[in-house]
């Protein structure tokens, strides 16, 4: 077996070294590009998933979301719950909040976004919205008569630039009118505008919890409590901890809250990725197959002669397998180098998605999966044509 491989390797090496360099280089280039394609698109998809996941945590839910028990609208005595939660090890922030829909109008533009009512200081311990103020300033505890708007909601004077229904370019210091669903209508001065690239932040509005409770005549309640933990990824364990501390409300992880949205996006991307991967692998198999097939057909006579002088068919097949594997190895290496260059380029000039800049995520399982699939494809594409051509009887091959 080893002797056979030695002879096969000898033949393959000479064929590579002294064969047609142009064809070989082109084939290697194609395999390199296929490798880049196998890695690049999934890495972008993973990058998008990472971005959206981080955004869900940083701008929408924190790590855990506590909501009222079944058939209840509010969590009552929320400050007691908050104190309880803040004493649990591993929790770094707790933010009780209300969310409701409200109608906001400004100069004839009427929009019905989600209105969040928050304790600004608590909110800052959980979410990062306060760090994304693009003009004016963020809410402070005790603010009344003031609202912070998301940049998409504030909109542009030129409505063609708007991606969602907007207030038509409201700016800091202007006054908007908010009609709540209990019939109360009040005027609010725009204190700040936030631009976070998170859809749930930039399309909605924020007032203080104090203001909301004043409008609705509520006290010490909330219909959502966001919880931030030290470690991301251990939400299920933390939920159990919260339950063991006697939290009786419904507890959701951020993954559960954002599952639908994210799954839809990732699901669509995965379909694109599957098609891209399949096409790439088909290209790889066809290219290597054609190159090896043409090579073997062109050397049909030579193969016949090799068999005639006593070189076993399996040695000849192996020599073509080695050639296919060489194309795979150098192609993969070249693709890897090219991919590194692309990643460097993207680090300097990131691709900006609606959610923000996306950094491609190239992890080991992705590299292993892509390399293995290309390896298997190369083996098949090298073996089959060599097997077909060497099957021919010696005299027919020699006569051509």
């Amino acid at each position: 077996m080893f002797e056979e491989s030695k002879v096969a390797f000898f033949l393959a090496k000479r064929s590579i070294l002294r064969g047609n360099k142009g064809t070989l280089s082109l084939t290697i280039l194609i395999i390199g590009m296929v490798f880049v394609n196998l890695i690049f698109l999934p890495s972008i998809i993973t990058g998008v998933a990472v971005l959206f996941n981080q955004q869900s945590i940083d701008y929408s839910y924190g790590n855990l979301v506590i909501e009222p028990k079944k058939n209840q609208v509010y969590i009552s005595q929320v400050s007691e719950l908050q104190r309880k939660l803040e004493r649990i090890p591993g929790i770094t922030g707790v933010s009780p909040r209300y969310l409701t829909s409200a109608t906001i109008s400004y100069k004839g533009n009427v929009v019905t976004p989600v209105l969040y009512a928050i304790n600004p200081r608590d909110e800052q311990a959980v979410l990062r919205i306060a760090t994304k103020v693009s003009s004016g300033s963020y809410l402070a505890d005790g603010d009344t008569g003031q609202v912070v708007l998301g940049s998409r909601l504030a909109g542009n004077e030129d409505e063609k630039l708007d991606v969602v229904p907007s207030l038509g370019g409201v700016s800091v210091g202007r006054v908007v009118e908010i009609s709540f669903n209990n019939g109360v209508t009040r005027q609010y001065r725009v204190k700040g505008i936030v631009t976070s690239n998170s859809f749930s932040v930039d399309s909605n509005a924020f007032i203080t919890k104090k203001e909301y409770e004043d409008v609705f005549g509520l006290e010490d309640m909330a219909n959502q409590v966001l919880v931030r933990t030290i470690e991301t990824g251990k939400e299920n364990e933390m939920r159990n901890t919260l339950l063991s501390f006697g939290v009786q409300e419904k507890i959701w992880t951020w993954q559960e809250k954002s599952a639908n949205f994210l799954n839809q996006i990732i699901g669509s991307f995965n379909i694109i990725n599957f098609i891209g991967t399949a096409v790439s692998l088909v290209i790889a198999i066809v290219v290597i197959f054609i190159v090896i097939f043409i090579n073997t057909v062109y050397r049909r006579k030579q193969i016949g002669i090799l068999k005639a002088i006593g070189i076993d068919r399996s040695i000849i097949i192996k020599s073509y397998l080695f050639q296919a594997l060489f194309i795979f190895a150098i192609g993969t290496l070249m693709g890897g180098i090219f991919l590194l260059l692309i990643l460097q380029l993207l680090a300097a000039n990131p691709i900006v998605f609606p959610g923000g800049p996306v950094a491609p995520v190239v992890d080991l399982p992705l590299i292993v999966r892509s390399t293995m699939s290309l390896f298997i494809v190369s083996l098949i594409a090298g073996y089959v044509p060599a097997w077909i051509t060497t099957r021919e009887d010696i005299l027919s091959a020699i006569r051509g």
Binding site: I309, I311, I315
Partner: protein, 235 residues
């Protein structure tokens, strides 16, 4: 050494059948230098292919060194060709990407010889054939005569019991043909190498100890060279 009994080879399917060999029986002794001659289509190459285990007879048996070739499977036939037979083709049939040395080296390597043994064996034989200064040349860089000598060296490197040559001079001019035939004669006389060669050139006859003339798939005549050098019909 080689015993062929009642060999037939029929090509083609259905109504159109060609009898390339039609009941040929032949015996070749160790140390013979046999020429198989005859016009095109006489069956001489077909008979050589049978001896070289490159083709199977439709009926009949071939024994080489006591081994019934018909009992060997494909892998065993390949091994038999590698270890016991040497084959020289009309058009040299060298691997174009291998140098002269590497072409000769290949069968030894396939036999499992060490790199050192292979190098020694092929350097020796190429020097013996007057190609000592061409060992690193590719076939495309050598003349037809040189290429054929490399092909003969390749056929002999494993010290085969039988050397088969299928019109080895067909693509060579008379000068190079003479070099090749002289080489065969030397191998036969000095090393007692058994050689079976197909030819249709009349002037080649003087090199053969025995000539088998074929026509229409049968042996028409067999002649042996007497000690006096005359060709006389076999009894």
């Amino acid at each position: 050494m080689i015993i062929g009994r009642d060999l037939t080879r029929i090509y083609g399917m259905g109504a159109v059948k060609v009898r390339a060999l039609n009941g040929v029986s032949v015996k070749i002794q160790k140390g013979d230098f046999v020429g198989i001659m005859g016009p095109s289509g006489s069956g001489k190459s077909t008979l050589l292919h049978m001896f070289g285990l490159l083709d199977r007879p439709t009926s009949g048996t071939i024994l080489i060194d006591g081994v019934d070739a018909g009992t060997l499977d494909e892998r065993a036939r390949t091994q038999f060709r590698l270890r016991r037979l040497g084959y020289v083709f009309q058009d040299y049939a060298l691997v174009p990407e291998l140098t002269a040395k590497e072409n000769v080296y290949l069968p030894s390597m396939a036999r499992g010889m060490t790199a050192q043994e292979c190098t020694l064996a092929c350097s020796e034989i190429l020097t013996l054939f007057g190609l000592g200064n061409r060992i690193h040349h590719l076939p495309g860089e050598m003349s037809g005569g040189e290429q054929q000598r490399v092909a003969i060296a390749r056929a002999l490197v494993n010290r085969p019991t039988l050397l088969l040559a299928d019109e080895p001079c067909a693509n060579l001019d008379s000068q190079n043909s003479k070099i090749i035939l002289d080489l065969f004669q030397r191998l036969n006389r000095d090393l007692h190498q058994t050689i079976v060669m197909v030819s249709h050139e009349e002037w080649h006859k003087k090199y053969f100890d025995r000539i088998i003339s074929m026509k229409d798939g049968v042996i028409e005549e067999e002649v042996n060279r007497s000690e006096g050098g005359e060709l006389t019909p076999s009894p």
